[in-house]
Symmetry: C2
Amino acid sequence: MFRPHFIGIDLGGTRIKAVVVDVHGAVLESRSVKTHGDGPDAWAQCIANIVHDFEARLGVATGMGLAAPGLASPDGRKIAHLPGRLKGLVDLDWTVFLDRRDAVVVLNDAHACLQGEHWVGCAKGMRDVVLLTLGTGVGGAILQDGKVRRGRLGRAGHVGHISLDVDGPPSILGTPGSLESAIGECSVVERCQGRFRSTQELVAAAHAGNAFAQEVWRRSIRKLACGITSLINVLDPEAVVLGGGIALAGEALLLPLRQELDRVEWRPGGQQVALLTATQADFGGAIGAAAEAYMKRNT
Amino acid sequence: MFRPHFIGIDLGGTRIKAVVVDVHGAVLESRSVKTHGDGPDAWAQCIANIVHDFEARLGVATGMGLAAPGLASPDGRKIAHLPGRLKGLVDLDWTVFLDRRDAVVVLNDAHACLQGEHWVGCAKGMRDVVLLTLGTGVGGAILQDGKVRRGRLGRAGHVGHISLDVDGPPSILGTPGSLESAIGECSVVERCQGRFRSTQELVAAAHAGNAFAQEVWRRSIRKLACGITSLINVLDPEAVVLGGGIALAGEALLLPLRQELDRVEWRPGGQQVALLTATQADFGGAIGAAAEAYMKRNT
């Protein structure tokens, strides 16, 4: 008996994640493999093989979505802009490459993460949400009135590139003193003056009572709180969702962050914004890509 | 012959502005009067009189909207939150007070301004826009996918309350080093160390070659540019619209602002965001309130 199902792919610089889900977003199969090679010959062919393998056993999927870094084109057929990474991805038309009858829906990976959280994760049933992915860089996405918004060029949700220090050094996108440089893994060695090599080491040292580490971490959290407050005042969400590797720090992140938010968050009539951590961490992007295909099919 | 028309009211702390518009947003009549008194007895009765007067000559309006400072309730019947100003406004049900058969649509004044610009002003036909009103304070609104978004509590678009300096003093909403304190009229005396009393004086002095004034103004503009860049990266609009009294500075504002944006704005594939000034300055809020009523009638 044929059961409608959707394929979601999350193409990252490090790993390719793939899922097959049913119409409720339940994962029927998943796959996670390393991203190999410098051109589409390697990783695009790997994706083609995964899709072929999925469909050989489960039948042709009702729809397919693909999430990747960069800005998706307005027609959702490809990544239109991504400087310097995953050579060959820009302008690759996935519907043509995979020889699909129905269009493959292509979207930004952070947008897909929020789509996934909205479909089956911590943002289920919500209308207005901001996602921050705290990893090597800081990315994100915004949900307003129940839809992930892409903006004009597909750039909406680049929350790592808000300025918290107009005299600070420029981010990779040119923003002075960005939120990304305040909390992203990419800047941790610099923030620590070389004394720790990762956020994990920094947090462990702070936890062990190292005063320098405590001060650096406190400062990073203060900036994150100010960035979140800015986003709350602009977007007025019901929840802020934290994803990415740094969110795995759990209470070491959340406890001081809540304290800072108590200080700076505007809470009209005492109403505060929920602070949540992403629940679909590993396959959220892939599930969100499948969600996008499902929704396209059903609207 | 009856011609459908809509009444829009913009209730401000200083003036009440009122318009009657047709279905194309063309202004048939307008009125601007001082806001008197400390309670609804004065200003609410004044609005009732204006409405009565309009309808006595033009017939009963097809719909009516009212814009005011503060956060509008989710059902759009009243202002639900506004601390310390226009006593008596919070929770006043305008449909009941004005004894209207059809509900009066109540919305935030900055949201109304953007609605007005979108209907008949510089943002006509656009899908994604950010408005900043540069006045005593700094307010604003966001249009995404063709709709002014209110968020969960009606607070979306409080763009004056993004942090540009995490060590700065708190704004009236608690945001450290806010955009409002960087460019709003409310902080100009402090920014000038008391040497000028208004942005107009500051800009005039800078224009006349006063080096101190030039430095203060340059610094204010730099912060504004960083704030706009942050909003662009989060919302990805096709245009940023500047309104409010400070926008009347024209090229004295726009020329250095464009130069700063050239330095900090992310322009994927060379595409930059249009920088516009509001065209409906005086009656934009009232027209936008009427637009809201018109749209409610037609959806």
